[in-house]
Symmetry: C2
């Protein structure tokens, strides 16, 4: 679609202004009013299943013509089961507690002023994502429940599906007190529109990009609006000298193999030299049986002959695949040094039975989730008890780690006085 720059600027501005107006109407709504919209959205998604699958077909055909891989086709695909899952996702969000207007703390000042912090929505959130069309419904639900208007810009490969889902969600809004423009799906495919949106500091409060590192870096580079980002997850498990090796085997296997394609899967295994000879040969054999390719440090390769040696690059690579780098370390200091140098501040876990070591690891490692005797795969909003997540932040500003409904709010100070003035 050929669109002049001027038109794109105007379209972005229109989206931003409408979102800001909607955000003001949405903010004061009660949880009941927002939940009514969410449940109606779920109902309508189910009722319009056939329409959604039909629109999705257009995306699939187009992707096939463009020679998309079967993995990409699977990510784009909507079938009745997936529509059902989206509807269930909306109902799950409706069941979560509403964070808006919660007073998180309150105290009294010597002059009698009562001061508190009350959660309020951020305002307008822009989500820029790729492939999976279910993000359209999931992200809209989390933003709506936290009182934020959302502008959704999905990947062009799922354009028809996203438009169709957006239309159904907006139709539901129209029958409730939630303004329709609380959920806007960008209609123009031209990527230059995204660049225009990223300039609208006055109308959009936060940008959340979801997708590959390239997408996220491009968004950060051109945005005037704060961006919450997650470049990659190079997660580590450190098996301490005092580990239960049976537990270590269970955790290390789960962290790598249970779902290797996600950001909280382990990419590098660090093993204390005192247990390496006892632990690694059996562990690596188990990995190899499960199809995991091992890339070892010098010591690892000595313990288990025939392994591919790890290169310097391996230590900072997010494989997202059945590949694992393994390094033997002298002690916990070396393990933490390795994590600081090569890690991505995502998730690290220590396996140990030593009280002192567990405390030191938790205190010293400053990743978004630091675990003792648990699989890295638990760094997930649902698993940690946030109810749902809109993404994982590996930058420390505003939110660090999985972001649930609370992370889509901020707090304002509320002050109750009896006529106090400053001296």
């Amino acid at each position: 679609m050929a669109t002049s720059n001027q038109n794109l600027k105007q379209e972005a501005l229109r989206l931003g202004k409408q979102a800001k107006i909607a955000a003001r109407q949405l903010a004061p709504l009660s949880a009941a009013e927002k939940n009514r919209a969410l449940l109606l959205m779920a109902e309508k998604l189910e009722a319009k299943r056939a329409f959604l699958v039909e629109e999705n077909q257009k995306d699939l055909e187009c992707a096939k013509t463009n020679g998309a891989s079967s993995a990409v086709l699977d990510r784009i695909a909507l079938n009745p089961g997936r529509v059902q899952a989206m509807a269930q996702g909306l109902r799950d969000v409706a069941a979560l507690a509403d964070p808006v207007r919660e007073v998180v703390k309150m105290w009294r000042r010597p002059n009698g002023l009562q001061v508190g912090r009350m959660r309020i929505p951020l305002g307008v959130i822009g989500i820029i994502y790729e492939a999976r069309p279910n993000v359209t419904a999931d992200a809209a639900a989390l933003c709506l429940k936290s009182g934020n208007a959302v502008i959704l810009r999905g990947g062009s490969e799922a354009h028809h599906s996203n438009q169709a889902i957006g239309a159904v969600l907006r139709e539901a809004c129209a029958e409730t007190r939630v303004p329709q423009d609380a959920v806007q799906v960008v209609q123009i495919k031209d990527h230059a529109l995204v660049t225009e949106l990223l300039q609208l500091e006055e109308y959009i409060d936060l940008i959340i990009p979801r997708g590959g590192e390239d997408l996220i870096r491009a968004v950060v580079a051109s945005s005037k609006i704060p961006v919450i980002k997650h470049y990659k997850g190079v997660c580590h498990v450190y098996v301490d000298a005092d580990a239960s090796l049976e537990m270590a085997e269970r955790i290390c296997f789960n962290a790598k193999v249970q779902r290797p394609s996600v950001c909280n899967a382990m990419e590098t295994l660090l093993v204390h030299e005192a247990v390496a000879a006892k632990f690694l040969p059996a562990m690596i054999a188990k990995y190899q049986t499960a199809g995991v390719e091992i890339r070892g440090c010098e010591s690892t390769c000595k313990l288990v002959p025939g392994l591919k040696p790890a290169s310097e690059e391996d230590w900072s690579t997010e494989y997202l695949d059945l590949i694992l780098a393994v390094r033997v370390v002298k002690n916990m200091d070396e393990a933490i040094g390795h994590i600081e140098r090569y890690g991505s501040a995502h998730t690290e876990s220590i396996v140990t039975t030593n009280y002192q070591k567990s405390r030191e690891f938790v205190d010293r490692v400053n990743s978004s989730a630091v675990m003792v005797n648990a699989s890295t795969r638990f760094n997930d909003g649902g698993e940690l008890g946030l109810g749902a997540e809109i993404g994982i932040s590996t930058s420390k500003i505003h939110a660090f780690g999985p972001m649930g409904l609370e992370e889509l709010t901020t707090t304002k100070f509320i002050v109750f006085g009896d006529g106090q003035v400053r001296e």
Copy 2:
């Protein structure tokens, strides 16, 4: 000083890398170790009073040569009293609770995992500020106490003073376990160095600009690092139909007159039409006696003849001076509408005896501080009980309102397990 771009890039990188190393050494230090450095800094500032005043003379002479106004000269000036106040500021920060490693919440998951959120430092903070050299000590203290390394870039008009203060602070660090590079004062005056610093996303976690709107907008425009910003404070007091007019007079006078040059001073007074005739003439007379220039809406000008009429521009102007815009409104809806349209999300206060109105105002107005029956002047970290403040954020990401020590931290998830893996 003529410096090539390549040199500036290298110097910025050097500062960033050193800060990141220092941040890692600083993060694990105990409160006692950090306090020792703060108290030693205070001692040394007092001991080197003469040196500081001498260096400050160079700045003052240079400023005089450049024809600086007496207001600017006053802002730059250091005298023994001001050095003493800086030292006291450091002792006050030492007396505050250390936020680092506080576990703010902890809960248990159905699978037995114990999950919590632990405060950690942000890492490296860049502060870009103007004029007052005391910011060098104040900001360094807050960053140090919250476990963050800081890169300080003050205005060139206080260059010698800032260098001198920085040297004293670093000398104190050298005698403690706090790394010297936890406090770095930029030595190169060339403004292009700031632009280079703002690109160092990998080494600096947060930028806090302190100064005029132009400075802040310039920083936001060129920064790849998250910026916490505060453009301006157009603060309102709304005198409700049910206000105690005696209390309203006290609060309105204080909010405008007690210190008009600061961001939490009132700039626009909104008065319900039901009490305007009774309230405004006496109030305005009192203002005029105090030298306040009034710019009124049509109704205000009718009630008090001879006033200057307010222009459309007045409603969104931060005077920072003894000037006040006054508008009569039909009701609270109109008052809130005015605040949403012209306000800056900084501070708004309602004066009322009506329970329902007080609740509605607090719920509906989403400024960084929303008050009932109190002067807007209380929107200040010290007054609200945060202990101290490094600035006030009017953007909602990360922090909204005054930022104390807690706002210079983030939280990581900590997870204690017994071998849990994901199904």
